[in-house]
Amino acid sequence: MTAALLVPVLAQGPQAPSPTARVDKTTAPAKAWKLPRTPDGQPDLQGFWTNTTYTPLERPKNVTKEFYTREEAIEIAKKAAAVEGEETEPGTIADVHYDFTQFGLDRSQGGFALNLRTSLIVEPPDGRLPPLSAEGQKRAAERAAARKRMGAPTDAVQNQPLSVRCIIMDRAGPPMLPGAYNNNYQIVQTPGNVMILVEMIHHVRIIPLDGRPRLPSNVRQWMGSYTGRWEGDTLVVETTNFTDKTAFQGSSENMHLTERFTRVDETTVLYKFTVDDPATWTRPWSAELPMKRTIGPLFEHACHEANYGLANTLAGARAEEKKAAEAAAKK
């Protein structure tokens, strides 16, 4: 069983060379590829996509180069897949509730683009988050102190991660970053809108292309307020009006996010985002990763409706406390 998990499914088929994407090129010669368009002339981003990756956001500490060789990248993916495979070995803790190969679709099971980059971050050139500004450091300390005051993660539902509470997932962002499993998206375009549906928690953004202003500054949203426009063949989406609850990588509610979507070949959309948040970082920073075509359809993810895990986590903590209190009382 684990042998099957060791081999990642690589990007299939010939691909047009793409210097900005640095997605793996196969050995087959590239065929001339024509960018498909919707009936109203937009570059066609439609379909089902996954942004699954083994590439970390920040360059690992012992790495200085920008790109691995293809062989190095494959080796890293294989090693990571093997770790996931270990977790499904009988007798390991993951064996207790789920067979990971049936539930969750870990990264080695879905198609993904073999990314030769050593980090998703492309600016600054060292591939790491820029230094925090003074205000950013202060806020990070305040947030850490506030978290401490809240108590243990199992003390109350509000102490649990947003994803566990089924409020919002990293995969939605924005920016959209993959998790350990199910990084599936669907894009549908109409003359006035680009809709991005995230399978996890059925998050949807309907991005208007009509040049309207974003929401008033007192209306903050989990996914912000976003507007889109085409710059040549790249969809540019700008988002503001975040709350201070998502705190992406420690950001403030005044983060200004710019995302760029470019269809670079038949099976790839290149996704790049730039974070501009002087209240947190001393300079803007950007990251880039490919979205690879995957097989639809998407399924309903009724996360909150079926959130037995959260209830059981809290109930279990209360039961353990009760047991400990009773044991202490007996002494």
Binding site: M195, I206, A302, E305
Partner: protein
């Protein structure tokens, strides 16, 4: 002169012809409204829509009544409504009617809407929130402001429901001006309204959306559930387009609003 006289003859004839046609039109059925088309020649239902009725309180005809939370006073009271169900009360089987009455009596505890659960079909359509239709050739998406609920209507690559879900599995087709949506694969968790009207997982809904004017649709839904009802029944209502400038859905991520309601009893004391 001669030219003007000639034109007068033509104009008079045109007016007479117009009158003749108008009379003919009035005496026969008014022609159906023809919606603008999408690129693939289908009626274009893209836009933001909302129902304007009290079906979300109770799909049957009902008088005004106090709400279940008296502290809300008139704000939480139930407005009266003519009902959207055609042909009188819902045709419950006797044991199902008893369950409906239990649902109503315990609605504060049992109504899935209170817990920010997905609304199901057709309740999502007449919730007091807008929904947006994003339509291309293969997929018609219905995105609800309430709880960010999503329905995908498959116009192509149609399959059966792979598993039960809250919003069901929808296959759609065009019949002239009408979008016909056939939905199965429901679980038994959602309700039809706040009055406890409910269904089983045998629910089968066939909806018809037809443009009746540039900014209104006629919505009809036939509900079939042999486990709960003695026969299929039908509801209908207009849907109104949001025509204000820059209309858009605003997030209603209600999970955060109901966490203490659902998990408060598990908080560490």
């Amino acid at each position: 002169m001669r030219n003007q006289y000639g034109r007068l003859i033509v104009r008079t004839a045109a007016v007479a012809l117009g009158l003749l046609l108008a009379v003919a039109t009035v005496t026969s059925q008014a022609p159906a409204y023809r919606a603008p088309r999408t690129a693939d020649g289908k009626p274009n239902f893209n836009g933001i829509w909302q129902a304007l009725n009290t079906a979300y309180w109770d799909v049957e005809a009902h008088a005004a009544a106090p709400g279940p939370v008296l502290d809300l006073g008139a704000s939480g009271a139930v407005p009266g409504g003519l009902g959207v169900v055609e042909g009188g009360p819902l045709p419950y089987k006797p044991e199902a009617l008893a369950k409906k009455q239990q649902n109503y009596a315990n609605r504060l505890k049992l109504d899935p809407e209170i817990k920010c659960y997905l609304p199901g079909v057709p309740r999502g359509v007449y919730m007091p929130f807008p929904f947006q239709i994003v339509q291309n050739q293969k997929y018609i998406m219905m995105i609800h402001e309430y709880a960010g609920a999503v329905r995908t209507i498959y116009m192509d690559d149609q399959t059966e429901a792979p598993a039960d879900s809250w919003m069901g599995w929808s296959n759609g087709r065009w019949e002239g001006e009408t979008l016909v949506v056939d939905t199965r694969g429901f679980n038994d968790q959602s309700w039809f309204d706040r009055a406890g009207n409910f269904h089983s997982d045998a629910l089968h809904v066939v909806e018809r959306f037809t443009a009746r004017s540039p900014d209104t649709l006629t919505y009809e839904a036939t509900i079939e559930d042999p486990s709960v009802f003695t026969r299929p029944w039908k509801m209908s209502m207009p849907l109104y387009r949001h025509v204000e400038k820059n209309a858009q859905l605003v997030e209603f991520r209600c999970v955060e609003f109901v966490e203490d309601l659902i998990y408060g009893h598990l908080r560490k004391q």
